[in-house]
Symmetry: C2
Subunit: 241 residues, 2 copies
DNA sequence: CGAGCTGTTGACATTGCTCAAATTTCGTGG
DNA sequence: CCACGAAATTTGAGCAATGTCAACAGCTCG
């Protein structure tokens, strides 16, 4: 039982109307005139790279929206094996559960700022603003569709297909993928995170990157930067469904 | 593009108030006095074993509740590799998506009866009965938690752990698992379905069943019946998280 | 009784893992 | 700015778990 969201994380206040990710977040369903109600119940906290946000057994008092930075969600087995169930970026939502404990752990990958709300306050907000509930349902259905896609990846794709699918997914998230032109990706997470997300070992991830580079499907200017010179060729090799 | 829910499936009418799975389904959120409104917009359809309910590319006009029987949900890769993302039982919900096409395919495993509702009618119902929206959000969060648990299984468990986890999950669903006593499971799905659910081949599933039987952790009176004589021993071997 | 399907078993191949070491990167302090 | 040490990444060699291909067995339904 940790208390991570109460220590070594500074509390900030910020106007919701200035929030750069409001349109992507749950808050998009709150009318502009009612942002004041939202501001009254949210607070902001910062987390250092690697810092625990909450773990699976923690009592679930708060829900969070990512304002800045990247977060990893994970589940652990008793012997320490880890499965990362998702990487979150600004605008994404975490912490909503029906039960009294979180269903997964969460850690900051880089410097992270979260917008926090007590679950009891969220529930009151949901009663007052039904549109927010719609929004949460939509976001949950999107999460579920992503989870099903990830099950397909984990259960049925080869290491090469997993890595390519991962890169293409990140490429689609960050860019509009007009078509032919090269895309440069920034990977804030470590090889270990990528391995635990794809159900591989770090060695296999590293070897796969190297062999994709040798094939010319990607370029690796540094360990955290990947260039996809030909998206279409990569799509073909990723066993697109 | 199939049209499965319009052919070779008989339409039935049945009173919602007599529905044996109402308490588990979305409909649990509808007041007893307002079941009439529900009955007006639902219809029932039957599917034969193996019959397609809808496939991934189909336009999503309907949502369904399973009244009877078992359903498999799956996603396919272009070359035919399949990942089963879930097995549904009576009371479970399928077909809700934000987009205009289903996010996965669905097939009847055995004789299935579904309670069907047009998505447009569901949306009207949601506006009139906010409690149903709560219920759907809760059900979606449960589905998501199950999906994350399955990602852990697919990405990080061995074949033996996968099979044991699968059996224990079914045991927990069907029984209260008081503790020491033996549990008999009925597996309506084929080895091929189990393999595609666990990210294995049918041969590995079959071999794993055999070796679990040799170890005494399970008994196999027939291919579709599994006895778990000692739940606790099985839990320990399944790498419970 | 035979055909066909599902499940099991066997032999072998292969992907990805384990263990180990080399290399690169990065932060820190001199 | 450079040197050092720690951590992350890459590379290598061997191996184990699981997949592939093939044969066989058992059951169901005509």
């Amino acid at each position: 039982m940790t208390d991570a969201h109460n220590h070594s994380s500074r509390s900030l206040s910020q106007a919701c109307e200035l929030c750069s990710v409001r349109h992507r977040a749950m808050c998009a369903a709150v009318d502009f005139e009612r942002l004041g109600e939202l501001e009254k119940i949210v607070s902001h906290r910062q987390f250092a790279p690697g810092q625990l946000i909450f773990e699976e057994s923690d009592p679930a008092d708060y829900v969070f929206n990512v304002s800045n930075g990247d977060v990893r969600l994970y589940k652990l087995l008793a012997d320490g094996r880890r499965q990362i169930t998702g990487f979150l970026r600004p605008g994404d939502f975490l912490g909503l559960v029906k039960q009294e404990a979180y269903a997964y752990g969460a850690e900051a990958i880089d410097a992270v700022e979260l917008c926090c709300m007590r679950i009891v306050d969220l529930e009151r907000l949901l009663r007052e603003l039904p549109a927010v509930r719609d929004r949460l349902l939509d976001m949950s259905r999107d999460e579920l569709a992503a989870a099903q896609e990830q099950m397909l990846l984990l259960g049925r794709k080869s290491a090469r297909e997993k890595v390519l699918s991962f890169l293409l997914m990140r490429a689609r998230n960050e860019h509009d993928l007009d078509g032919g032109e090269a895309v440069t990706l920034d990977l804030p997470m470590s090889r270990s995170d990528i391995a635990d997300y794809l159900g591989l070992t770090i060695e296999t991830v590293s070897r796969t990157f190297t062999s994709l580079k040798e094939e010319g499907l990607i370029d690796l200017p540094s360990a955290q930067h990947v260039v996809l010179p030909d998206i279409d060729a990569a799509e073909a090799a990723a066993s697109a469904d």
